[in-house]
Amino acid sequence: MNQGNGQKVGAVLVVGGGVGGMQASLDLAEAGYKVYLVERGPSIGGVMAQLDKTFPTNDCAMCTLAPRMVDCGGHLNIEKLTYSEIESIEGTAGNFSVRIRKKARSVDPDKCTGCGECVEHCLVKNIVYLDQPGRAPVQIEESVRTKADRIIGRYDGDRETVVPILQDITDEFNWLPPDVLMRVSQEKQIPLEHILRIATFYKAFSLKPRGKHIVTVCMGTACHVKGAPRIMDRLERELGIKTGETTSDMRFTLESVRCIGCCGLSPVITIGDDLYGKVNPVEAAAILDKYQD
């Protein structure tokens, strides 16, 4: 973009609509350049959209990403070429000409509001995401795959099988290992994004490995008024972890649950399948000793 050279044009092509590409496009567009933003996927956003937090500041990924997506989406100086790939680039610095193949999507992007109704109602399996070239085949250990396949084989059907399959995986592995989820996606021909959406919606699923013993403090109303928060405090101190975390030796995971329906015995904690009623913080801590194996 050597401005001094009269032959050169004041437009920039940015390849890749991830967070980096978007920020670059925005900075350039703000500086007055016309920007062409090319993205292979159907939408800008990139990998960051799939992340919860970012390293090292633990900032919320969406909070970083969303404003940039909105700005990019609405910026008059940025022309978005999504679902497009570069075929060839010719020329030299300052004067390139680029051939871009825009894939058919049968959606008018100017009118689309991103409501997602078409995805919901599509009769054809949305397998685009699965067949992305370049995505490595699922690496999965033989024994794990056998287990996963046995679970998947139990359910015949489409998306309505996702919840039961995830439940069985949780029963088997105590959490939802990513390779197993990819296997489910592949075998059931259901986009991983949808599986993750379900997996993150429900409380019963964990995307993090959980400990051998899952300690659950009931936080139902009856337990709350009878001092459940103080039991939780005590257990957090005892185990040295916060709610939702697992001890470093992978022995205990501490969780809370919204009522297990044992209000007559409140306050209640459960460890694995064992239920303890009418406990006070001191007793609760003592119960942990039974599970030191």
């Binding site: 919901e120 919840v163 439940q167 409380k203 109303t221 008024v225 209000c263 007559g264 913080p281």
Partner: protein
Amino acid sequence: MEPYRTHVMLCAGTGCVSNGSFRIKETLERELKKHNLQNEVAVVMTGCNGFCAQGPVMVVKPDDIFYQLLTDDDITHLVEEHFLKGRPVQKLMYTPPAEELPVPKMSDIGFFNKQRLIALRNRGMIDPEQIDEYIARDGYTALAKALNEMTPEQVIEEIKLSGLRGRGGAGFPTGRKWELARAAKGETKHIVCNADEGDPGAFMDRSIIESDPHSVLEGMIIGARAIGASYGHVYIRNEYPLARERLIKAIKQATDYGLLGKDIFGTGFDLDVSIHRGAGAFVCGEETSLIASLEGRAPEPRIRPPFPVESGIWDAPTNINNVETWANVPDIINRGAKWFSAIGTETSKGTKVFSVVGKVKNTGLVEVPMGITLREIVYDIGGGIPGDKEFKAVQTGGPSGGCIPQSLLDLPIDYEKLAEVGSIMGSGGLIVMDEDTCMVDVARYFLEFLKDESCGKCTACREGIDVMHGILVRICEGNGKEGDIEMLEELSEAVKDSSLCALGRTAPNPVISTIRYFRDEYEAHINDKSCPAGVCKALITYVINEEKCKGCRLCAKNCPQEAITGEVKMPHTIEQDKCIKCGVCFDVCKFDAVSVT
């Protein structure tokens, strides 16, 4: 003269005298004489011993046996039995109410005699895993009647006449819903039993399925036949493994008997029932989210209409009822709408199951006629508040409900009355709170729950609840500001008005009702930076009462901060700057020496 072997201390206080203790004395002396015991047993008139309610009373020394409410006739018997034969008379002894001695009848115990069982009719009576036991208690006769002797229209009419309303909370008339579902166009229709009992503090659905799964199934089969549905679904909470297990068994047994499956009772009517396990999302109790969850979509509610009765599972007409509603159906068919509608109030018929929990002596599950007062539930059935604590409020309706203060204890319970005072019937959780419960903390608790459980679809619910929760946390931490209460009220209105489903629309109820009845507590938190109930950590201090402390060192040993100092056998003190207010000292103290201020 020989010393007396026994002294009878007969009360001659005002109370007992007015109850005839002098007459008792005469009779006693006469009877003793008759048995020639006058030289062995001395009758002594004493002063009042304070137990005037049970007068006339007497104490037999040296055995220290306490007799009460004596009459002349008792004396004859007493002298013969006790003084002659040496056998104390049990039935005249005083039994403290806490110890049930001798064994009272169930009908004499408040907890049981105020109850009327319809949905819970078989609880504790049958083995839930044996279909034959259910049949032995008239199980499946209602089904036989509904299938063979009644037309679907008649069944719906009967349910309509009975006045049965949805027991899941909103109270929509069940018969009307069935009628709409029957009228809806669609080749296949579905019925759903909503057992996703998400309200914290309510567990009647679990209990009904655990103790009598067939009653729910029978209700569902009758309903399916009336509506014309051929698929049944039970959506059951993940946290209820035992209930699920029993229901699976029940479905198997019913299918083996031909009560489910093809050609039920040879009428050509088919019904398959499948079980779906929830995965811990409160919003799934909402009809449209439940359907989305069944279909494997993200369980977010959608706008109604179309209502599920027109377009539900896979766009087919779907009738959803709660567990308790289904369990009521067989008895209504068996005993008739007239019988059912005679129970309850003008607008709310039949009974309701409540889980009475929290700060109450008898916690448990009770089924009572509609129109019973809160006082009866809390005091007669619940046995009142444990310890010498003061009653403060009852919370009904779970996170969508509100807190009802002491002044409204005589409120007869039905759908409308509860709504009038700012609460709802809900699924029937009834949490009793005493003076040690902080109402601001309760509001904060419910909003924390709702903040986590909001599906995030509607901005007002997602963001509004979060902001309200933030304000309440601030108030509980002692950082409340002037104007916070007004801000909460304003946000409540906004969230209520602009949310799609009942979760958001009722979410502010706990806040509104606590502000309405317990504004002073909010003000104490904000203005005086104090928590009157001693709950909010930031606003309380633990102190050791020097007079009560025996210096046992137990609290010091348990204190995680080593904040308690003091010599053995000397009163201890808490160093406030080290204290993290974990309350361990309070829990472990055997002498009640630790108090919260």
